[in-house]
């Protein structure tokens, strides 16, 4: 087998679209499988319009060892041999390809829609009878285990708490969960389709609402795309403020998650304190830009709000104060045996499973994987200012909680360090027009993990395709695996320990 090289790029670097090699389908398949087996992870695998009504498949293999993104493509007919049997992390991507582009990955072990959205293109894979034709999430066949003592539990889309809609189908034996299947798509609002033809005045707002709790992360990924396409360099001060914004987002969400985990095991002190402290972090973001979610702060070319000396001082002081309260609140968790008894050994994901599924973010690092975009594919301020990677080995709820706590401390330290040495100068430049016929991939370590955006421009420099991969897209299957052989009553706790985004997945 000969392996042809793909197009190699750094994170946030653009190249002519024509430089992406178009391989034969077997070469493409072998190439992707081989790269993933030799240590790369599949950052994206998606379809786009090719010539003559065909579909182009593009794979972005992220090589953590040398920080390179390798891009391969192929133009299959209406069917091709699925990658998933040899590369489990392609599972969700190939279902998406089948649903959006009516191209059938033959031999896929569980071919069903992931969003229940209308196909972009008519073809063999959609429309006909079978599970691909289902019109609503939840109204479809689910994986079933037969047996006299087996029972099925269905939950959602409307849940008990104030959370997003999703449908969960458990196959149980008594209290014990054999299998959990997750059906999403209720939040599908057509964002990727609407991005084609951009950038427009609405584009950045669509980015900030891909997942509202990751407004800064997604806006940063989009910023890197536009900056690469227009060849503009973000001023150092702008990069530093973007780093501060991203870490503030992480602080708020991680703190909220630790509180929610405490709530789910009935430990109310930490639940109450962290609920308040999450808001204090959001208010720090609002201090900087007016919005608790960082809306309007990150823009292509830099940031739209600077930090004057007085504001920077206030941020530092308040951050140190909030961090002290978070330390006190979180410390109670580790010192309370009733909490630790519920956290430890619950919802374990083995390291090999995490690797096979291609998990990202704290969920991956809690299984011992040292996967972190800020370390592996640093862009923006991160080549200059390092954040140590936080990992734990046990893969359980405790590990996912403890990794968050380590990251809280390191993010706070990172912000305080940066505030002491903020570069002088402007915070934003005008990015100018986007170049024609280019491809660019942009990775950002959002608080849930790796965010991947891939853009391709047409002859006028407009988006001919724009792919968004939210960290949740990689991780939902991890939650399903964590539930295997667990009591069903531990589902809320396991779910919270992943805290995945429905809207970020559904797009």
């Amino acid at each position: 087998m000969t392996v042809r090289n793909g197009l190699t790029l750094h994170n946030g670097e653009a190249a002519p679209l024509g430089d992406v090699p178009v391989l034969s389908v077997p070469e493409f398949r072998d190439g992707v499988v081989l790269r993933v087996r030799s240590g790369a992870h599949l950052a994206a695998l998606f379809g786009s319009r090719s010539d003559g009504g065909r579909v182009r498949l593009t794979a972005v293999c992220a090589r953590e060892r040398d920080g390179i993104l390798e891009i391969l493509s192929a133009d299959p007919d209406d069917a091709y041999p699925a990658l998933t049997p040899d590369c489990p992390s392609a599972h969700w991507f190939e279902r998406e390809i089948a649903e959006q582009w009516s191209v059938v990955p033959e031999g896929h072990p569980w071919l069903k829609p992931i969003r229940f959205q209308p196909a972009y293109r008519a073809g063999a894979g959609g429309g006909g009878p079978g599970p691909m034709s289902a019109s609503l999430p939840g109204v479809t066949d689910f994986y079933r285990i037969e047996g006299e003592e087996i029972h099925e539990v269905a939950v959602g889309p409307v849940h008990a708490g104030i959370i997003e809609p999703g449908h969960f189908r458990f196959q149980c034996h008594g209290e014990n969960v054999f299998h959990l299947e997750i059906a999403l798509g209720y939040q599908h609002r057509g964002v990727e389709r609407a991005l084609v033809g951009g950038p427009s005045i609405r584009t950045v707002h669509l980015m900030e609402t891909l997942a509202g709790d990751t407004s800064i992360g997604h806006a940063t990924a989009y910023g890197q795309i536009v900056e690469a396409l227009s060849g503009c360099r973000v001023p150092a001060r702008g990069q530093a403020l973007r780093g501060i914004a991203l870490e503030l987002e992480r602080l708020a969400n991680h703190t909220g998650d630790l509180g929610a985990l405490a709530g789910d095991v009935g430990f109310l002190p930490t639940a109450s304190y962290c609920g308040r402290l999450r808001g204090d972090f959001l208010n720090l973001t609002a201090l900087m830009c007016g919005s608790r979610f960082g809306r309007g702060w990150i823009r292509p070319g830099g940031v739209s709000w600077d930090a004057d000396a007085e504001r920077a001082r206030e941020l530092g002081e308040r951050l140190a104060r909030v961090l002290r309260d978070v330390s006190g609140a979180v410390d109670l968790l580790w010192r309370t045996p009733s909490v630790m008894a519920r956290f430890e050994e619950t919802g374990r994901v083995r390291r090999e499973v995490a690797e096979d599924l291609g998990l990202v973010g704290p969920a991956a690092r809690a299984c011992g994987l040292t996967r972190d975009v800020r370390h592996d594919f640093p862009a923006g301020i991160y080549p200059m200012a390092h954040v140590p990677v936080s990992t734990w080995h046990s893969g359980d709820v405790f590990a996912r909680a403890y990794v968050r706590w380590m990251e809280i401390q390191r993010s706070a330290e990172f912000i305080l360090d940066l505030m002491r040495s903020l570069p002088e100068g402007p915070v934003r430049v005008d990015p100018g027009p986007t170049a024609p016929d280019r491809i660019v991939a942009s990775l950002v370590e959002g608080w849930r993990g790796q965010i991947c955006h891939v853009a391709m421009t047409d002859a006028r420099g407009r988006f001919r395709a724009y792919k968004v991969v939210d960290p949740s897209f990689y991780n939902w299957m991890g939650l399903a695996m964590a539930l295997r052989d667990q009591p069903i009553s531990d589902f809320p706790l396991c779910n919270k320990s992943f805290n995945l985004s429905y809207c970020g997945h559904d797009l």
């Binding site: 209308p118 409307v158 609002r189 057509g190 950045v204 669509l206 509202g212 709790d213 407004s215 609002a286």
Partner: protein, 254 residues
Amino acid sequence: MLRVLLERLRQGHRTAGYPAQEPALPDRYRGRPEIRAGACPEPCRACLQVCPTGALSREGSGVRLDVARCLFCGACEAACSGGVVRLTREYRMAARSREGLVLGGGDAQRTAQAVHEQARRLFGRSLKLREVSAGGCNACEADVNVLNTLVFDLGRFGVQFVASPRHADGLLITGPVSANMELALRKSYEAVPAPKIVIAVGACALSGGPFAGHPEVRGGADSVLPVDLYIPGCPPHPYTILDGILRLLGRLPS
């Protein structure tokens, strides 16, 4: 146990003084827009051209702004050389009708009319709401959720979010209503015993927000159900939501 108690003392009392005390909002907060009437020179369309959701339109010698569509990005204010459009720091924005959210053309926003007589009588001292998230970005949900934290302590107003629509007096809806959530939303509404109220929260639920016009979504909550209270924002500040709910119930001085 001793450690838990010591930490409790250290964390202190954090519930805000609202409504007796006005909330402290950051200086860069972007709240209710304001339109200076009749001051636009022809043929200026500067604000219209930069608005991401088409919330602005020309009306005679001025502009009209549909706050239901507004994302509060401030692009209009930055584009307006005449100081006609401005985002104030006013957080109170809820209205009883969609028309009550259209600014300019001489009308003042009818925030003060937010009281719902029947809601006040029936639910003024106890309101149970079921939240339905229907296609948004989860930011509105997040800032509805914080009303349950000890800072806002929603329970002290007799308002509570409940687990089932059958236990509720009404729905609080976020999101533009995605096609995939329409059925579940309708079923949730039907499951709420009458008389019932509907509160729409956020630009999406009011108008489709940044997703307005996408074929994958409906045009907000009132394209599917009757809505009694509209709370604008993208997302609204928690105090905007709290103010809206309390105003609907006649719990705030007008």
